[in-house]
């Protein structure tokens, strides 16, 4: 009896969404290593991490929001706004990147708080609120720069940070790792994480259970605002330039990574490591395709298409494992 249940546990672990995704990621890595040119080099792994840091950060904070059954479409625009404000403070305000960075994080928190206020006080749907601030934040960024200003005068040390490495990994990797650990602990090791899940699963139930639903939801959006601001600073350091069009479309890439990582778009279920795997899967795909010389001319178009295919495949396989589990349970009851 005990051995058979152990076997079942082992099988269900294999069929879990994250395991399927991990398998897909490894498959990608081995395939591109075999077929692509210079895929498995330290430099290129650095590229993959550096180029997906901002999306990764946004995905990591998008995940708790989706877990509560919400969504934040404004993070890409907020990244643009924060990049512009940060650039303006450094170039025209004479602030050091450290001070300007601190202020930018506060602005990000305030912007997240604005979203949270509209969602929790006025009880407006997150999709509508953040669709509004999606335009609002981008519009503000464009108004500040009048569409023309580009900020590129930063201290050399700041620019070096954006393109440098520590212990063989890009500087961004350590920040991404720290944020990932933080969010992982928050979601999987604290009561906050459990309350996010409860709210996404049944908001009214969570309220009757005495959870401070509004405060918890607000916390998720404020966190997203702060991390979007952090992503803006890293983006500016990497591209060595702040412009109003920074981060266009990143919100949807982040949502894609979260959903690919197995978080239900309706809320209630999902894991942080799944989200990370989702980010890695998309990042490896687009980088790997550009390393196959015979198709590199169309790799960018192909990677969009294959990301879509990957998403459908991963979700379908997740569903399949659920069906198998349900079928087993039924058979178990019948037997």
């Amino acid at each position: 009896m005990s051995s058979s249940s152990k076997l079942n546990g082992w099988k269900s672990a294999l069929l879990r969404h994250e395991s399927v995704l991990l398998f897909l990621v490894l498959l990608e890595a081995f395939y591109f290593n075999a077929v692509g040119r210079n895929f498995a080099t330290a430099d290129n792994v650095g590229n993959i991490i550096r180029h997906s840091t901002e999306i990764g950060l946004l995905a990591l904070v998008m995940m708790p929001i989706i877990l509560t059954g919400g969504i934040d479409l404004s993070v890409g625009s907020l990244l643009g706004l924060c990049a512009v404000l940060f650039g303006k403070m450094c170039q025209e305000g004479g602030f050091s990147p450290l001070v300007a960075g601190g202020i930018t994080l506060c602005i990000g928190a305030a912007a997240g708080g604005f979203n949270a206020t509209l969602i929790t006080w006025l009880r407006l749907p997150p999709l509508i609120v953040t669709l509004g601030t999606y335009s609002l934040f981008r519009g503000l960024a464009e108004a500040i720069t009048k569409g023309t200003a580009t900020y590129s005068k930063f201290p050399q040390a700041f620019l070096d940070f954006g393109n440098g490495a520590l212990l063989g990994l890009p500087n961004q990797a350590w920040i991404l790792l720290a944020v990932a650990m933080g969010v992982w602990l928050l979601i999987h090791q604290t009561t906050f994480g459990r309350s996010f899940r409860a709210i996404g699963f049944a908001p009214e139930g969570a309220r009757y259970a005495g959870l401070p639903v509004e405060r918890r939801v607000a916390m998720a959006y404020v966190l997203a605002g702060i991390v979007a601001a952090l992503a803006a600073i890293l983006f500016t350091a990497r591209v060595t330039q702040a412009r109003a069009d920074a981060g266009i479309g990143y919100e949807l890439l982040a949502v894609t990574a979260v959903v690919l990582g197995g978080t239900s778009i309706f809320g209630g279920t999902g894991t942080v490591h799944g989200t990370l795997l989702g980010v890695v899967a998309v990042a490896i795909l687009s980088n790997g395709l550009s390393r196959i010389l015979s198709i590199s001319n169309v790799s960018r178009e192909l990677s969009g298409m294959l990301t879509g295919a990957l998403l459908v495949l991963a979700l379908a396989s997740g569903l399949l494992s659920k069906y198998i589990a349900a079928w087993r349970a039924r058979r178990g009851v019948a037997g």
Binding site: R37, A40, T41, V45, S152, R243, D245, R291, R300
Partner: protein, 336 residues
């Protein structure tokens, strides 16, 4: 805890597949590439007909000179994309990178990184910071283009009246340089002409059409629309046509003959001004090849560019030649 373990194993595995075998893959690249040069060629945006024509020239040059050509570029306006593509090319191990730069300062960081790794860099169409590349393949000098545009506009308007400019983005480096020179020419030679507004169209035909329609409404005395990025010329012409102002409001601009042929023949657009775009792509690849082979060195005054013959240099600028005015009379002789 088991999940944490899974996470760490995952990261570990990715690092392991990532970092274990740099030497092996370098070998593959070396033997696979042989002595054939690999030149990577990047437009500002991939779908733009102007850059597709550029690419056709580049493909011809690649065949003539026996090099491998890589072509990639952004498909949207994400300002980080050009940097990312360059950084991927660096690790791919190409010999020369040729770029039409969208963000002068931003791309320069990535190009300097390439130079530090021993990869030769040239720019074409729109330049980077001068220290981030060896040469800039200049389609025509800014003054050359601006003078032809302003002179043609003045000629169409009879030397007086209001005109407006449609540009790609207000940040594009080459467009701003042209704008500055158009202003200079205007002040110097045509005191009776007045530039009423400059509108960006984000390199999109639809937006150019919309902006032109707005301008036609806002300035009833407008005599001429000057579109200085290629999608804007047919866009402006369509707006003038739909407003029923054909002939009353003249249209001219920098664009491809093929995209404007119908409007030119119908008399909506009076003049299309451009260099031979295919030759720009050809010259870029020819210069890149010569640079990689050591035939083109800093300080050179001429070099031999395949079928284009001897090409002149002005400092580190490789100049393609004078712009050309396509009109109703000659437009059928060109098929790009």
């Amino acid at each position: 805890m088991r999940k944490l373990f899974l996470l760490i194993t995952t990261l570990g595995l990715i690092m392991a597949t990532g970092c274990n075998k740099p030497s092996e893959s370098t070998n593959t690249a070396g033997s696979g590439g042989g002595k054939k040069l690999t030149i990577a060629f990047m437009p500002k945006s991939k779908g733009n007909q102007y850059f597709i024509t550029c690419k056709n020239g580049a493909v011809k040059a690649a065949a003539d000179l026996g090099i491998d050509l890589l072509f990639d570029g952004p498909t949207n306006t994400d300002p980080a994309k050009q940097n990312e593509i360059v950084e991927n090319w660096i690790t791919l191990g190409v010999d020369v990178i040729a770029v039409a730069c969208e963000n002068k300062e931003g791309i320069s960081t990535a190009l300097r990184k390439a130079q530090a790794k021993g990869i030769k860099v040239i720019t074409f169409d729109s330049d980077s910071m001068p220290d981030a590349r060896s040469f800039f393949v200049n389609q025509a000098t800014a003054t050359g283009i601006a003078n032809v545009l302003m002179d043609t506009a003045a000629q169409l308007c009879g030397g007086e009246g209001e005109f407006a400019i449609i540009t790609a983005t207000l940040t594009a480096n080459n467009m701003n340089e042209w704008r500055k020179n158009i202003d200079l020419r205007l002040k110097e030679k045509y005191p009776k002409m007045k530039l009423v507004e400059t509108k960006p169209c984000d390199d999109q035909k639809d937006k150019a059409q919309q902006e032109t329609a707005n301008l036609l409404g806002a300035y009833p005395n407008l005599k001429c629309v000057m579109a200085i990025c290629s999608p804007a010329v047919p866009g402006a012409a369509e707006a003038v046509k739909q407003a029923g102002k054909v002939g009353k409001v003249k249209v001219l601009g920098l664009g491809l003959p093929s995209e404007n042929r119908a409007y030119v023949k119908d008399g909506v657009t009076q003049a299309v001004i451009l260099w031979k775009v295919e030759d720009l792509g050809y010259l870029t690849i020819a210069a890149a090849t010569a640079l990689a082979k050591g035939e083109l060195k800093p300080g050179a005054t001429t070099f031999k560019a395949g079928k284009l013959g001897e090409i002149q240099l002005q400092g580190s600028d490789i100049v393609l030649g004078q712009p050309f005015v396509f009109t109703k009379e000659n437009i059928d002789q060109f098929d790009f």
